[in-house]
């Protein structure tokens, strides 16, 4: 069938190629949206120096297409621009992105390890109180705005649980070089055990809040696809073979329901990335979420247009890649899909 490894290469390749026009569209769109209104330099930078204001005014009074062209040309040359105060965008993103990725992966891990079994349990107890409990649980997470959850966790839960609520490490900078800018990974690579534990402790609360809020989708999707799969004959066959119920569910049934659950990965990625903006700000996590928060003018900061565009574009690319991975996973998991 069309499922050899070389076919997989073609499968992935085709989708990567489709990525490019979407990428360009993203950059164009972000640019348009952030430059939609008339320049309001005085309002944006109330404390800036005269030269900065003049600079801003000159930049924004050009026609939109010129502005975009300048930006795009710069981008292609590797210059991601700078904030009005002059700090370049690229290094900030280069150091911040891995930290955010660490947070996102930790949340994903929690979502899978907790959310999917919850979905299975809800499907097994369909219509009964176990199902209702799970539903209340994930809807509670869903209904909590990120900032509310983050603030409550940081201010109330952290002291109660004895977990830190700020930053990646207890004291910065850490005594080892940060190659990857992922706190736990760096500490592990440096072989520094107490700092690794410290890094993990700092990761727990923000990752848990992020996971709790976004878990709903994974649980819901698992539950409904399990409900579809459980009455099918092959599940009964598996039971009749003499397998204990646990293996019937987690080996036979779940394997098939995961096929549809992976499609949800793309949507989840969007939610996770969006959530990092607030979570990183509240928990002081040095990722691009926090960078986005200030670039966009959160908390009264001066807007950093170049930074905003870059961050938004990076997020969008992240979502697109997550969708791509979900697509590929689907193709791998479902043996009926032909890769050619």
């Amino acid at each position: 069938m069309g499922r050899s490894p070389s076919d997989l290469g073609i499968f992935v390749g085709k989708r990567l190629v489709q990525l490019v026009p979407v990428l360009i569209g993203i950059i164009v769109l972000t640019f348009v949206f952030t430059h939609i209104s008339v320049a309001n330099c005085a309002v944006w930078y109330p404390h800036a120096s005269k030269s900065t204001l003049a600079n801003c005014q000159a930049q924004f009074s050009k026609p939109l297409t010129t502005q975009f062209w300048n930006y795009f040309v710069n981008l292609l040359q590797g210059n991601w621009g700078a904030s009005v105060a002059g700090s370049p965008v690229y290094p900030a993103i280069a150091t911040g992105l891995p930290a955010t990725l660490e947070l996102v992966f930790a949340s994903l891990f929690l979502m899978i390890v907790v959310g999917i079994p919850l979905g299975v349990m809800a499907a097994q107890a369909a219509g009964r109180w176990g199902d209702h409990l799970v539903r209340v649980f994930y809807l509670t997470g869903w209904a909590t705005p990120t900032y509310l959850g983050a603030v409550i966790a940081a201010i109330f839960l952290a002291p109660y649980l004895g977990l830190p609520s700020h930053g990646e490490f207890t004291s910065n900078p850490p005594p080892f070089p940060q190659y990857t800018h992922m706190s736990v990974l760096d500490a592990l690579l440096a072989g520094n055990l107490p700092w690794t534990v410290d890094a993990i402790k700092h990761l727990v609360l923000p990752a848990t809040v992020l996971a709790f809020i976004n878990m709903g989708i994974a649980t819901r999707m698992t539950r409904s696809s399990m409900l579809e799969v459980i009455p099918l004959d092959y599940v009964k066959s598996a039971r009749m073979k003499g397998l204990p119920e646990f293996w019937v569910m987690y080996k036979h049934a779940l394997r098939n329901s995961l096929i549809t659950t992976t499609t949800v990965l793309g949507v989840t990625a969007g939610g996770l990335l969006a959530g990092t903006v607030v979570i990183e700000e509240v928990f002081g996590w040095p990722g691009i979420g926090a960078y986005a928060y200030t670039a966009i003018g959160g908390g009264g900061a001066a807007p950093n247009f170049d930074g905003a565009i870059a961050v938004v574009a990076v997020f969008a690319v992240g979502v697109v890649i997550a969708n791509l991975i979900a697509d590929i996973l689907y193709g791998i998991l479902d043996p009926r899909v032909d890769w050619r």
């Binding site: 092959y234 066959s237 009749m240 073979k241 003499g242 036979h252 394997r255 043996p335 009926r336």
Partner: protein
């Protein structure tokens, strides 16, 4: 009674749905003797599938509950066994094949993996090794009384040298649980696939179910079920979803297997012809009750229950030139409000006032017939004279 593999006494199964509670199976008693094939026949909705799935406790217990009765299997009452212990009895004790070949095999796994899983489960239980599958306290199954399935020397010879088998299957070498090398297990898988008359089974080992035909899938299902060497095999309408030619092939196969494998079979069907071909004894179900039970030839030749007689008469023969097709007047009763007394009395041509009275007629032996021919009719002896 002679040595019965499974003996059901007065089994009743209720469904608790929001609207109320209704009894899908009422007070059914039957036995399957060792080495026999017992067929259960009935219209859609008469409770035969429910009965079949209830024996290995496959029904989801919250909506379905066992409302009474006993199921004796290998000296144990399965009704009393807690659900978590049932996996130990399923598979090697009782196994089941289902109706839709499309859905019976897991679409995500290869054929080899699925059949090998069954083989491994059996080997674990035989060798008393592994821990996952065996419930605490249950003894090993005694296979000494049953000969190995001998599929005839023509089939079981080492047709393919071991090397080719290794090539096809990519797995780790030694199976830690059962001690069998994957070569051994692969050999066994292949032998069971040959048992169900699949030629060149090596070619299908790496395929997925959706790449095979319905008839092939059904054979694989049978192979998978038999590879665990169950004492009782329940076949829930195994040929109903197949077209007629494949149906004939699978039935021929099953008949041959019955002699070769010495597993007892409980065969559920709505097709009288299929049952006539394969079964030794026949049970007829109507509205959740077993209305007649007896040796197949005798029941067909001289039915002792009005429903059976009308059913046999309604089955169309090759052609009919003298008038419309015969049917049974009326409709199957709603099981949440069944008729009083004998459930068939509203539609029965020989009904009398006493048929309406509760309790209805018991399944009692009929005079002038074999010892185990029973009918649930007060006037069983008059059925022969029914027009």
């Amino acid at each position: 009674m002679t040595d019965a593999v499974v003996s059901i006494e007065g089994l009743s199964i209720d469904y608790v749905v929001g609207a109320g509670r209704f009894r899908a199976v009422s007070d059914v008693s039957l036995e399957v003797e060792r080495g026999h094939v017992v067929g259960i026949v009935g219209e859609t909705g008469c409770g035969k599938s429910t009965l079949a799935q209830a024996i290995p406790r496959l029904l989801p217990e919250p909506p379905a509950t066992i409302g009474g009765g006993k199921i004796f299997f290998e000296g144990r009452d399965l009704v009393q066994v807690p659900l978590w212990k049932m996996p130990a009895i399923r598979g090697t004790g009782i196994n089941m094949i289902f109706q839709e070949p499309l859905n019976s095999l897991n679409p995500a796994f290869r054929i080899y993996d699925q059949v090998a899983e069954a083989v491994r489960i059996r080997r674990v239980r035989e060798t008393n090794g592994g821990s996952v599958v065996r419930a605490a306290g249950s003894g090993p199954f005694d296979y000494s009384r049953r000969p190995d399935p001998s599929a005839g020397d023509a089939w079981s010879g080492k047709v393919v040298p071991g090397g080719a088998v290794q090539e096809v299957v990519h797995r780790k070498q030694v199976d830690r649980e059962t001690g069998g090398t994957h070569g051994e297990i692969a050999e066994e898988v292949l032998s069971y696939l040959r048992l169900v008359r699949i030629n060149d089974p090596e070619t299908i080992l790496n395929l997925y179910p959706h790449e095979l035909s319905g008839g092939m899938r059904q054979r694989i299902m049978i192979a998978m079920a038999l590879s665990e060497k169950p004492s009782l095999l329940i076949a829930d309408e195994p040929t109903s979803a197949l077209d007629v030619t494949i149906q004939a092939q699978v039935l021929t196969l099953m008949k041959e297997l019955i002699t070769e494998v010495n597993t007892s079979i409980l065969f559920i069907s709505h097709d009288l012809g299929v049952i006539a071909e394969t079964a030794d004894e026949l049970g007829v179900m109507y509205a959740g009750k077993l209305v007649e039970f007896g040796p197949v030839a005798e029941v067909f030749a001289s039915p002792r229950h009005p429903y059976t007689k009308l059913l046999l008469r309604a089955a169309p023969t090759r052609y009919k030139t003298d008038g419309p097709l015969l049917s049974i007047a009326g409709n199957v009763p709603n099981l949440s409000r069944p008729p009083s007394g004998c459930r068939f009395h509203p539609r029965c041509p020989i009904a009398r006032p006493q048929c309406k009275g509760d309790p209805g007629p018991p399944l009692a032996p009929v005079e002038g017939a074999s010892a185990n021919h029973r009918s649930a009719c007060f006037f069983a002896s008059e059925v022969a004279q029914m027009a």
